[in-house]
Symmetry: C2
Subunit: 170 residues, 2 copies
């Protein structure tokens, strides 16, 4: 067992020993979802004030609404959420490369067969050159999608990894 | 401003007031990623023992390795992680419907144009009928992908929303 796996087991023993939230329902109590980045420096529950059971939390590289669209539709259409809080962040890795750079790295590290799998799966890494514009673009993407009805409230934010602050953009 | 948005602003003021982690680096310090579900009843940081800055956390409907593959490749190839902890959970919404059910709900709620957008984007909701098998299948999917080298350690787990425990499956 790896050190990481041992850490999961130790955390589980400790967390479950004082766990008293086994009664929570499947649908989020506050009927909203947070879409944010996978970045290791973000703790959504504390930084954005999410109590256990209150909201869906979708996380991926760059808080991408495109990658997350399947999950967003499930959240809204099957589990009743009606508000989206989209949070990108300062210092995001997605600001540091272009799609062709990532394809080049995959080819160098993993070979041509891996690049072909990227192409077969039509994987776009969806990097962005400017943070505020990327927040606006993803909010616009959601508003333009027929899969997100106009009744859904959408806001776009930036979390500052340097200060722990979250500020609204749109 | 909605009540949810006001809650984000209040959480931000409180969290940033005592924030002292502004020095953390972009790459995860412990070089691993956790892939888990967006479910509102999961707090990955506490349940799985993730300290701020230690690990990428990818979350989507059902902890899907297929939806998350783009983010996993970015995490490994661009940000140096080399271990995946995949955690699905009891009581998951993905156990409760079939793909055609979800398409039917989208058609009923949002109309035919929304269904066409699902088809254009080739969105498969990726539900699963059995939990342990779904964990095994996603671990196998990752091991079979040319985008995940054999040097990456992968384990599959189930979090119990009733007890707060996390147990290893594979």
């Amino acid at each position: 067992m790896s050190a990481i796996q041992q850490n999961v087991e130790a955390a589980s023993a400790s967390y479950s020993a004082s766990f008293d939230k086994g009664h929570l329902a499947l649908p989020p109590a506050k009927k909203y979802l947070v879409l944010t980045c996978m970045d290791a420096r973000i703790d959504p529950a504390r930084a954005f004030g999410i109590e256990l059971g209150d909201a869906h939390v979708i996380r991926n590289a760059g808080a991408s609404a495109v990658e997350g669209l399947r999950s967003i539709v499930i959240s809204e259409q099957l589990l009743g959420t009606n508000e989206i809080v989209l949070v990108k962040h300062t210092g995001c890795g997605m600001l540091t490369f272009k799609n062709e750079d990532a394809y080049g790295i995959v080819e160098k590290n993993l070979g041509q067969a891996a690049v072909e799998e990227l192409r077969e799966r039509k994987i776009d890494f969806l990097p962005f050159p400017e943070l505020e514009q990327a927040v606006k673009n993803d909010v616009e993407f959601l508003k333009a999608s027929k899969l997100v009805p106009e009744s859904v409230t959408i806001s776009g934010w930036i979390y500052e990894v340097e200060t722990g602050k979250t500020r609204r953009v749109v």
